[in-house]
């Protein structure tokens, strides 16, 4: 958890002077900070940093629609990745001391919406697509050298989406959604008949494949897209089904580094209301509860990670963003709402902008 004191300390003395008094108050008042991509009521794209109580600390303008955000205390920077397939990532200083820096995707690669920093903050990794080869890669950027792109690793699959760093600090887990897109055809999905999604574990140091896990072959149209790690290092994932709409495959599962992968059983009603579309997955602060969302079905579900069954179902119109707070989860929506679920005690709030699919908790 990124507590206020650490937050202030890591920023150094310099930034305090540059913050407007209102921002300073906001930082003082907040133990937690959240970040999300947004669209303003005027239709402009941006990102927002919010305090624990939903107070806006800072906003950042984006050239186009952003998606997930990653922040490194060590690097003193956050990065907003363009929504896939995107051509930019914006590096920003959460404290506003340095002007934002726009990274442009290199020739033949597009950003795919997610990324992480190395534990020491020296390297930034981003899921990208080598679209001519229809292969996923992890782009590697040197945070100590102006975010120069210094190389890439394969993701061992097509259409990578979310990537996380495992708690060991040396293993990536990547969700290869399996869907091929190409800039010549916009967002059209080009290979729905031959999709091959997988969860892969990759060595952060040399890019070597540690393990690749697939669901049974009858589920090849189940695109694995978003993940969160629980207290037992299980990687929980949420899927989007690209097969016949009348099919009702299970959509939530977990994978482990020992090679297990399975879908858990959700009751028919809950599954139906997820509408074959899970938009984000988050773990609680203590890692014992997993929350998943479906903006299609307006549904939020909290799952006991040990029992592997749902413990709470809540509705939120177009709800998608999820992040743990101290006691539960914060959920945000594509209609500008923010609520607390599964133990989070907070009032429902309405903003004059709308939230993108993901909410990040700093820390």
């Amino acid at each position: 958890m990124w507590q206020r004191r650490a937050f202030l300390k890591s920023a150094g003395a310099g930034f305090l002077a540059s913050l407007a008094p209102r921002q300073l108050l906001a930082l003082e008042a907040n133990d937690l900070v959240f970040a999300s991509s947004i669209q303003t009521s005027a239709g402009k794209y941006g990102a927002v940093l919010m305090g624990e109580r939903g107070d806006v600390i800072a906003t950042i303008d984006l050239p186009d629609r952003g998606h997930d955000i990653t922040i490194s205390r060590e690097a003193g920077r956050g990065v907003v990745f363009a929504r896939q397939p995107g051509t930019f990532a914006l590096v920003f200083d959460p404290f506003g001391n340095h002007a934002p820096q726009t990274l442009t995707s290199v020739e033949g690669r597009h950003f795919f919406g997610h990324g992480v920093f190395s534990p020491d903050g020296r390297l930034l990794y981003a899921t990208e697509s080598d679209f001519e080869a229809a292969q996923g890669v992890i782009g590697i950027y040197d945070a100590t050298d102006n975010y120069r792109r210094i190389g890439e690793f394969p993701t061992y699959g097509t259409g990578p989406h979310e990537m996380l760093l495992m708690p060991d600090g040396s293993t990536f887990v990547v969700a290869n959604g399996g869907i091929e897109t190409h800039p010549d055809y916009g967002r059209a999905e080009l290979n729905l008949d031959t999709m091959d999604p997988s969860v892969v574990f990759i060595d952060r140091r040399d890019g070597k494949l540690i393990g690749q896990l697939r669901l049974e072959s009858g589920l090849h149209q189940l695109s694995i897209r978003h993940m969160a790690v629980d207290a037992q290092n299980r990687v929980w994932f949420g899927c989007q089904y690209k097969g016949a709409p009348s099919d009702t495959p299970q959509l939530i599962g977990y994978a482990t580094m020992s090679g297990e992968i399975r879908l858990i059983e959700l009751p028919p009603d809950t599954l139906r209301d997820l509408r074959n579309y899970v938009g984000s997955v988050a773990a609680s602060s203590d890692g014992t509860t997993i929350a998943v969302s479906s903006p299609e079905g307006d549904l939020l579900v909290a799952i006991d990670a040990e029992q592997k069954r749902p413990v709470l179902v809540e509705t939120l119109r177009n709800g998608c963003g999820l992040a743990a707070d101290q006691t539960g989860f914060v959920a945000t929506s594509g209609r500008g709402e923010m609520i607390g679920i599964a133990g989070a005690e907070r009032p429902q709030q309405q903003f004059d902008f709308v939230f993108d699919n993901h909410m990040l908790r700093l820390g």
Partner: protein
């Protein structure tokens, strides 16, 4: 009689001239009965005719008849292919009917290989259905009827080619019939879409159903631009790629685009989803602009992309689709009180 006329006149007077209030439930019903059912039925009829025309070709050598039937069936599909819900999305039908875009030319390679090997299992519908989606539909049939070696269709050398083409046509006929039957079923998707209910998995409320319809139109326009126009027109580097155009061999590229936009326009009009007269005028004008642009492209695409006037018309067609997408995806959604969900429907 005179009394009746008077009553009718009084009733007419009572309705303000500007009132055009159609309830959301009525819009949904109109979408299905005025557009979806007739169009899916027409597609089934055209593919049945195509199937017969292929039979006649193989028996009597009427190549022109089969080629014309291909164009009629393909454009009938063009009018409804944006209906990516319900039966079109079952059993991979959308890809089996038309596997496109096919950036790497997988379908072409597979069809050529199948023809070279005279793979008899591809000449029956059950055998064909076991094969790659790319050899089952319009793309494959276009190569059979218009691609290298099509002249053999009227000779004994082309017997296998013709039998394979007939199986593809029959396969299309079957799929089109299944789609029409799916929409005609009074207990099927038509009911769920027009009488939504919280117990249904797909449509729980009228708003959700209406969002689905408006979303189909908005995404349909985007798909026409991204997969049917942009891939072949001149890029920033000035190079066009006419062989990335759908149906360039049969010269059906533009008729297909016209059919796509015609279908989208008809659904918008026939469903009565645009009540606001100003917005309605703008949408009509944008569709007309697209139609004018298409009409200006009179040469086969290979020549059209190098002719300045026709290339400009294609660029204007792209602009028209951008305008349409904004008018329908944003403005119309707003007037209907829909959120074409910022966080959904984008595979993120």
């Amino acid at each position: 009689m005179r009394f009746l006329v008077a009553v009718l006149a009084a009733l007419l007077l009572a309705i303000p001239a500007t009132a055009q209030i159609i309830s959301p439930a009525e819009m949904l019903r109109s979408s299905v009965t005025n557009f979806i059912r007739p169009q899916t039925k027409a597609f089934a009829t055209r593919t049945a005719e195509l199937s017969r025309a292929m039979y006649v070709l193989c028996e009597n050598g009427d190549l022109i008849g089969a080629q014309n039937a291909f164009a009629a069936a393909a454009t009938a599909y063009g009018r409804l292919e944006f209906l990516r819900i319900g039966p079109l999305m079952e059993d991979n039908r959308a890809d089996r009917i038309l596997f496109f875009p096919d950036r790497k030319g997988i379908g072409l390679r597979q069809v050529q290989q199948l023809l070279a090997q005279a793979d008899l299992s591809a000449a029956t519908v059950p055998g064909l259905q076991q094969k790659s989606v790319a050899v089952q539909g319009f793309g494959a049939l276009e190569f059979v009827l218009f691609g290298t070696g099509f002249e053999t269709l009227t000779t004994s050398d082309g017997a296998f080619r013709c039998a394979y083409g007939a199986a593809v046509a029959k396969n299309l006929e079957e799929m089109a019939a299944d789609i029409a039957a799916g929409w005609a079923d009074p207990e099927g998707i038509a009911r769920r879409l027009t009488q939504p209910d919280p117990v249904y998995a797909d449509y729980r409320t009228t708003t959700e159903s209406l969002e689905a319809i408006v979303g189909l139109v908005s995404h349909g326009i985007e798909a026409v631009r991204d997969t049917r126009i942009n891939p072949f027109i001149a890029k920033a580097n000035g190079k066009a790629n006419p062989k990335q155009a759908l149906f360039w061999r049969s010269n059906q590229t533009l008729p297909m685009l016209r059919a796509n936009l015609d279908g989208l326009r008809r659904l918008v009009e026939l469903a009565g989803i645009v009540a606001d007269p100003v917005l309605s005028g703008e949408i009509t004008a944008a569709f007309a602009r697209a139609e004018t642009a298409i009409a200006a492209v009179t040469s086969p695409v290979e020549e059209a992309v190098t002719d300045p006037a026709q290339a400009a018309a294609l660029a204007d067609l792209v602009t028209a689709t951008q305008v349409l997408q904004r008018l329908i995806g944003e403005d119309l959604s707003a007037t209907l009180g829909l959120s074409v969900g910022f966080s959904s429907l984008d595979g993120d």
